[in-house]
Amino acid sequence: MSVTQLLFWFLSVLALAGALMVVTSKNLIYSVLYLIITFFAISGHYILLNAQFLAIVNLIVYAGAIMVLFLFVIMLMNLNSDVEPQKKKWLKVAGALAGGCLFLVMVAALKDADYKNQVAQTREGDIGLIGNLGMTLFNDYVVPFEISSVLFLSAMVGAVVLGKKE
């Protein structure tokens, strides 16, 4: 087992375990923290795939900004861990069952994809480097890039509209 494989397995287990903990943990703060762990693991995957730019952005945007925002809101609301009322048992079971079935169905559907033998390049390939991505982004993808500004504008206006005290 090579280092790459080792890392892959480690990061995968870490991400999945973190994700599971997000779902199962009772405490809201713990959930956030587990989610951050998951994001770190995913960033690790990105690095493994030699997508450094995305790895960094993932850390900054997700683990940094977004999760901090979450924490911030949670703190602001001063939510206690045991405030959350539990769903009815059968609904939980049904939910888990449905999710599990979805997993099984998707795996069953995709298991005989003819890309079986394809390999995702790890530790090499320079497309994930910042220079490369930057060139493409500001050449070919400049229109979507600009348009995404509209998205931010509307999000900003929206946050103001909703947040402003009247």
């Binding site: 995709l110 348009i147 504008l153 509307s154 206006v157 929206g158 009247e166």
Partner: protein
């Protein structure tokens, strides 16, 4: 491109107008004039005068279909502004911001009508959705509005997740996001990645157009949102969703239509069934209209089911017919004190013009001949029949259309055949003229539907 850029710019303008202008009327007038400019520029592009020359790297394609649809959407919005502009200002303190958000939505609509890659589809849908989450919750003190907003947001985000998973799988199968690249003709053989991806994409798009069984958000959100914004959401936005859906089919599903036909047929039938049958029991006209919008979505789904030239023309006609009528009904509904059916009692006696135009709109939604609603439904049925498979669906749709008469006519019955107390409804003459204009448009499109398509074939 004119429409996308201008609407974004106008959104920004509206944002600032709220700072510099204190009078709500002035803001409204700016919004209306801005929209007229937007409409004009879009028409200019339709007639071959694009103002901006941007190389979109084939991510956006502005064909006449998209531009005609944009025109329909903008005209509908213009009518909407004219009729309900004041009411938009009355929702909360941030009148100008609402207008800004509406313009951003229009930007998203223009993207959704002309995208050529899944990336632009995704961006367009999100640009439409995010302002709508906010508009739904804009009546901040109203718990219903809050609830609607949260529900919309959570489910919308969930469906975004589905869509992204779908796009990722499609990308895995095809290595590109562009619609041409997805077309099955370029590489033979279907692989499960692609099918799973397309399936997830269909599901998330069905969610956006509130097709059953992914419609659950619709009644609650439409009911809870401030009525003016419900009007906008239920019409222009929903129709834009269908246009986007149709483009997706055009690019990605076209060559393998048969593969999806059964699925689409099931969704169509379910949508028609749920929408129509649940609307029957509603007590509130607003909620009834929410279900009716699901039912109408069922009919619009025929465009995807039929998927031929008739379907495309028909969808345009349907968008115009449905949007105009629904905007009209909502504009009148906003003026009512009581949203239940009883609230409409005796309206014909006290406000004959409102009742008359409302009746025309309802007849149009019910698909009675001489109104645009009929020609639209005609095109839909025709495209499905031309398609030639799953004939049961057509018969089923016909019965559902008959059910729809039940709840639409309940309003007409209340207005015309029942007596009610006089309500103090104050409407300006401009409002009345607006209604008359829509009514005339609905009738004219009902008799001469081809006027809408002349631009498609130039």
């Amino acid at each position: 491109m004119n429409a996308i850029i201008l609407s974004a710019v106008l959104g920004v303008v509206m944002m600032f107008s709220g700072i510099f202008l204190k009078s709500g009327n002035a803001v409204r007038i700016i919004a209306i004039s801005g929209l007229i400019i937007l409409l004009g520029s879009n028409l200019a592009e339709l007639y071959g005068f694009p103002f901006f020359n941007v190389n979109t790297r084939n991510m956006l394609v502005f064909n006449s279909f998209a531009l005609v649809f944009n025109t329909i959407a903008f005209v509908s919005t213009l009518v909407y502004f004219l009729l309900s502009g004041r009411d938009i200002m009355h929702v909360g303190a941030n009148g100008s911001d609402y207008f800004a958000l509406l313009f951003f939505v229009l930007c998203g609509v223009s993207i959704a009508s002309s995208y050529n890659t899944l990336l632009m589809l995704f961006l367009g849908i999100e640009i439409i959705s995010i302002p709508l989450y906010i508009l739904t919750g804009s009546d901040k003190k109203n718990l219903k509005s809050n609830e609607a907003s949260l529900k919309y947001f959570l489910m919308g985000a969930f469906s975004t997740g589905l869509m992204l998973m779908g796009i990722a799988l499609i990308y895995g199968a095809r290595g590109t996001f562009s619609l041409e690249g997805m077309s099955i003709a370029s590489t033979p053989g279907l692989n499960p990645l692609l099918i799973a991806g397309l399936l997830l994409l269909i599901i998330s798009m069905s969610f956006k157009v509130s097709a059953a069984p992914f419609h659950f958000w619709t009644p609650d959100v439409y009911d809870g949102a401030p009525t003016v914004f419900t009007s906008f959401m239920a019409t222009i936005v929903k129709v834009a969703g269908f246009i986007a859906f149709l483009r997706l089919f055009d690019g990605a599903y076209g060559q393998m239509g048969a593969q999806w036909q059964l699925l689409i047929a099931i969704i169509t039938a379910a949508t028609l069934f749920i929408g129509n049958i649940t609307a029957v029991f509603q007590q509130s006209v607003k909620r009834m209209l929410a279900y009716s919008s699901i039912a109408q979505a069922g009919f619009m789904f025929f465009a995807l089911f039929g998927f031929n030239d008739l379907a495309k023309e028909g969808l345009l006609l349907y968008s115009a017919a449905y949007s105009l009528s629904t905007i009209g009904i909502f504009a009148i509904l906003i003026k009512m004190k009581d949203y239940t059916f009883e609230g409409f009692n005796g309206l014909a006696k006290h406000q004959p013009l409102l009742a008359g135009t409302n009746a025309i709109f309802l007849l149009s939604l019910a698909g009675i001949p001489l109104t645009a609603g009929f020609t639209a439904k005609f095109y839909m049925l025709a495209s499905a029949i031309k398609n030639g498979t799953h004939f049961w669906l057509v018969i089923f749709a016909v019965f559902c259309a008959a059910i729809s008469v039940y709840y639409y006519f309940r309003v007409i019955q209340a207005m015309y055949f029942k007596d009610g107390e006089e309500q103090s409804i104050s409407v300006t003459s401009g409002f009345k003229w607006g209604l008359v204009f829509i009514a005339v448009a609905v009738v004219v499109l009902g008799i001469f539907p081809q006027w809408l398509f002349t631009k498609l074939y130039f």
